[in-house]
Symmetry: C2
Subunit: 325 residues, 2 copies
């Protein structure tokens, strides 16, 4: 039963919602280990005491160096020391990336870890990688993100022979910026089931099992997807509420709208894996609710049970060798 | 009364929907001039005959060079020769960009034309620039896009002292890729009402009067916005249709949903201005319906009436001088 270290001070609603999420997720198959200040009310859950805190607006690398005993860094260290099986934080994403690089370290041959988010597309789960770890990336990084995403989709999501596409501004191979054009050529020769460029308009509909991009474009895309869903549903609610007829209709469609909302709500998928490390690390949204935290913990536990790290460690070198990288 | 040259062979549904859109838009204040093959049934509208055609999948620069008498290139030339006041095409975007550069030419001091799309955000119109003309751009290009977007918002949309934001992956100035970081510094010193970085999650809600980005990120964002709205409304319709209760509710909310859909539908805004040229050029969606074509024609006519080109020509040098560019 996986022990998941949880940064109790990470996120805009910490520590209350974080602790509440941990209590919600705690079960016979998941043991949250809170990392935070002495005296924190954990509702009976295990607490590992830390003495420092990294705020959302601190410079990641500096903060991680200066605060080795912060809840975020210590939570990562618990995994490195074998005192926990996975780590979750809704705190400063950059700091989480820096801390996990420092404490968990990269798998052999990995240039850079990448954030993999599972988008609940209409056609099924679709892995967007990199969703924000590397704002600037080179073509060979994108190739490796594709390998990591494909192994993840196959071994963890159970998707046989996953299709891979490159996010770009047109389906034709010659459409894209310099980075996309070079990455396209590498992907075409990768041995992956590469199906060419994907257009962002298909992201929610389901473009491929794995959609590869750099961390800047991926992060913009993910936030745009989330924000557009939220704003559109708000606008619809307002429009419906403007007439009596609409209000009645709104009552009748409420269960359907709620089901849809829950399926697409970022809180439902809870967090994103940081792939390429020697340990399971999950990054949750900064404004995570208790539900989001609970789901992020479950995501981390699943990563342990399905041995995400072992699969990547075993198969990345083989993939790279096949492509002659 | 503006005469608008329309590429009759541009777009996936040409020429039928294009001609139908022209007939829909033709009025006492707008004269469409169709450019296409001899014998085209224009329903009585003026036809300027062309002998060549540029297809959607042709390489833009090559196609424009090789086909000077294509409907797309000739439509641009009509504006250059004073035979039309503006040009609209739903054809190959890259070819339209190349043809307008060749035939209309850039305004003095403009590095690169950019695509400006008016997003119908919840807070009002928001100009996204560049929405796809320049897949690779330098920081000084983004600064100029901001100037063009601000002049457009002020003089054409009537937005006094428009706010400007840079699309990035966090609101803090230090969040972004190398391009965004450098552009941020230039924008901060630009004399514009620069309010820092915008996150993509706020794009539909309304991030700023002008949102600046490179053409790759802008195009990915625009298509993601459109695709997500479409997919979400489809999913909602399906979810509602799954139960009798939902179906009844769906009937009742139909007018509200339709109003919202119309407000957000890309067909409603119809097209995007290509700013920075010595003439009004509007790019319509490749899959434009007749409604989209009609709206693109109206957008072009408005651009003529409000003298978009004159405003940019007059104010761009002043803006640049102020910023010491």
């Amino acid at each position: 039963m996986p022990r998941v270290a949880l940064d109790a001070l990470g996120g805009d609603r910490a520590p209350e919602e974080v602790v509440a999420g941990a209590l919600e997720a705690a079960s016979e198959t998941l043991t949250p280990v809170l990392v935070g200040p002495a005296g924190l009310d954990t509702g009976g859950l295990e607490l590992v005491e830390s003495t420092q805190e990294i705020r959302m607006d601190e410079k990641p690398a500096d903060a991680v160096r200066a605060k080795p005993d912060s809840s975020l860094v210590l939570a990562c260290r618990l995994v490195a020391e074998g005192r926990a099986d996975a780590v979750v934080s809704a705190g400063n994403t950059g700091a989480m990336l820096a801390a996990s690089l420092l404490e968990l370290r990269r798998l052999r041959g990995v240039y850079r870890p990448a954030i993999a988010v599972v988008i609940p597309s209409r056609r099924g789960p679709s892995v967007l990688i990199d969703a924000g770890a590397n704002a600037d990336a080179r073509p060979e990084h994108l190739l490796q993100f594709a390998y990591m995403g494909a192994i993840f989709a196959e071994d963890v999501l159970g998707c046989a022979d996953p299709s891979v596409r490159l996010l770009s501004i047109g389906e034709e191979p010659e459409k894209g910026n310099a980075l996309a054009l070079e990455a396209h050529a590498l992907l075409a020769a990768s041995g992956l089931r590469f199906e060419g460029n994907a257009e962002s308009r298909d992201l929610l509909h389901g473009a491929a099992d794995v959609v590869v991009t750099d961390g800047f474009t991926g992060n913009v895309s993910l936030k745009l997807l989330e924000g557009t869903i939220r704003t559109l549903l708000e606008a619809l609610r307002e429009e419906i509420g403007a007439t009596t007829r609409g209000k009645l209709g709104g009552l009748l469609i409420r269960p359907a709208a709620r089901a849809l909302r829950n399926r697409l709500d970022p809180d439902t998928y809870g967090g994103a894996y940081l792939l390429g490390l020697r340990g399971v690390a999950v990054i949750a949204h900064g404004n995570s609710s208790r539900t989001a935290i609970a789901n992020a913990l479950r995501l981390a536990a699943r990563g342990v049970e399905q041995d995400v790290v072992g699969h990547l460690a075993a198969r990345l070198p083989e993939r790279a060798a096949k492509a002659g990288v």
